[in-house]
Amino acid sequence: MTSIHQMHERLRSADGIEAVLDAAHDAFEGLLSIIRAHEDPADGLFIPLVMAAASAAEGRNAITFAPSLPPRRLHPATGVAELGDTNITVGLAALSELLATRLVDAARDAPYPSDQAACRAAARCARDIRALLIGTGP
């Protein structure tokens, strides 16, 4: 099990396009698994979470089309991500903000246009997730 803090750390410390893409891919998957575990129709967050899940999946899928994404995970898959004590809105919004920042940087530095396009598309999804969770979404 990976905690949301570990995902933060991996993203922050990722060095080079391959590592950033790998960490971003896993972060989107982590976001998705956390959201799936919290989709409760009785909760007021239900609709923002459902829409955020679609953006998380779209972001992950965008990265899978980046040619520099390593074909094998650089870190072993750890199953469902864990939120810990963090408030879900705060935790996911912060992770998606970091994702957007790292992907925008990666898009600027990426050598291939396909990597750049994938990073830009995924960064847009990360921004959408944050906006949906804090109530200023698209």
Binding site: V50, A57, N61, A62
Partner: protein, 621 residues
Amino acid sequence: MTSRPTFGDFIHAAYWHLDPATTVHGLPGSRGSAEEVSRSLLRVITVMRRYVEDMTITFPGMRSRPQSELAAWASAAIEARVALVSGAVFLDAQAAVSRWPDVPAASPLARRLDGVTESLITGRDLLQTHFGLDWDGRRQHRSEWAFVITSPTVTRALLAEIAALSRTIAAQGANLALAYLPGGRDNADVRRALNAACQWLWVLNASVQAAHHREPAPVTDGELLCSIPVNAPPARRLPERGDPVTALCEGTVTTAERLRHLAWDAAERAPWSSGLSVTSMYQVAAANAVTSHNSEVLLRVLAARTAQPGFGQVSAQLSAAAEAAARTRHAWLGVAHALDDISTDAKGRVSRAAAETRDLAQWSGRLAYANPDWTPATGPAQAARAPEDLAPEPEQVPLVTAAAHQVSVALTRLARAEQEQIRAAAQAGRILVTTRSLSDEYDIPRPFARAPRARVERLLARYREAAHSSRQITAAIAPAAGATRAPSRTLTAAAAALGHGHGHAGAHEKETMPNGFAPMPACPEADHGPGPVEVTLRRLGVSRADLLRRGAELDQASSRLIIDAANELDPGQRRPSAIVLNRSAGAAEVVNHALASGDPRAVALLRQHARPERESPEPEP
């Protein structure tokens, strides 16, 4: 409740042209040229024949099997065709010009008939938009309405409309044909032929009446026919701040109709379409989960609004629909979860249908929640509308019910369309998985691989569940829509016409059409008017009620005598031509009165048991 033109617009226009109260064509009456009216009547008959020819698709075996073996309405369709062919023969024989007139006709009745022709042609064109031709030139369905149009239900309704128009036209045409015009330019043969053609229109009417007596057609048949829209999506609309509930209902219905249209198109599209992407599928699944959630909220508020005297079982029906909406939300979430594990070869492309599912989520949310700025991204914990805010007056309950009903049908259609597309795409090898998502047992040196069959099957099963639970919402709302006479009740009629109704008919749906005709306001001239004896008495200035009543009784008795006698003739005995029957104006009036009585047996006056006298080539109107 649709912003698109419907068939009803044109059939109503046809009646409008014939209505004596319509004065744009000139005052109704016996003025005008019989020759000109004959030409216009031939155009009407020609387009009516086209409608009846179209019906051969509905009734299999209509052309090949003996008429005695056919059901009542199939038999009526054949008899209608024979009557139209026979009527046209008289008009053709007078060398009536079939082409559209270069200048508007001078005679008021001819102008009315030309108006009817134009309305009927446009109405048929509207119906034909639901059909096309495939590469081999075979007729192909282009919308879900195509199945409804070719159903026996709609065919029955169409025959009833043609019969009602025929009856009205026959009365007006015969009125002109038998009018005494001193110094009139028309010769007697033209007038006799015109009267004979009108008599065949009465025969058509009587044939349809007979079918209705054998197999009564419900009122909903006519409502369904009139509700058929043109096969073009309505214009896209987005909600605006402060839209009243009525506007929100209209916007929801319009968007649901657009989605059904787009879903049909998407399902028809080739499996290699670039719009088929996992991004599109995700957006559809997420937006539909939200729409289902909104539907549940909306239906619960509406159930609370109708939990008072006067609404019968409506509240309980809407509560059941809300339960089904909750299950549908769960099913669409299941679709989204299943999509977590797959990908497609097209990246990032969003189909039009996917983009518009978000519109439907927004419209349904504006209806369900109190926040006038609601969007799926507004934020958590939105309060639902108060019941009295949703429908302040009872008249608004049917509109909101219709909106929820239309949403459920759109969700069902979308689930089916996605399912069909994914099945086709899987067969074409377009449903993929990332190799990162596969276990280490797989050693594939590429980022993507064809999705394992089990994953595709799991995804398809989720779509099946979504379609099933969406249908359950529809089934639960349908009785409420019927009971409140919501505009969407035609959806129930359409489903019933296709043989997959939900077994429910509102109380009004069990009513049958009075006299077998569509519920149009009666046109006085089309009604069974006074007979020749009564007319003569009135022309003499007689106003004593007992004398007029006696005259009417004599007219009825003479009609009955003629009809009885005609029915006792040997079936093999050849009937005289209508021209022979109409040789004197007096005899023609008596025959007209018998035919206009609506007695189905009156057809024996003219109808041969053999084929019609001569089949004329079909002219272009």
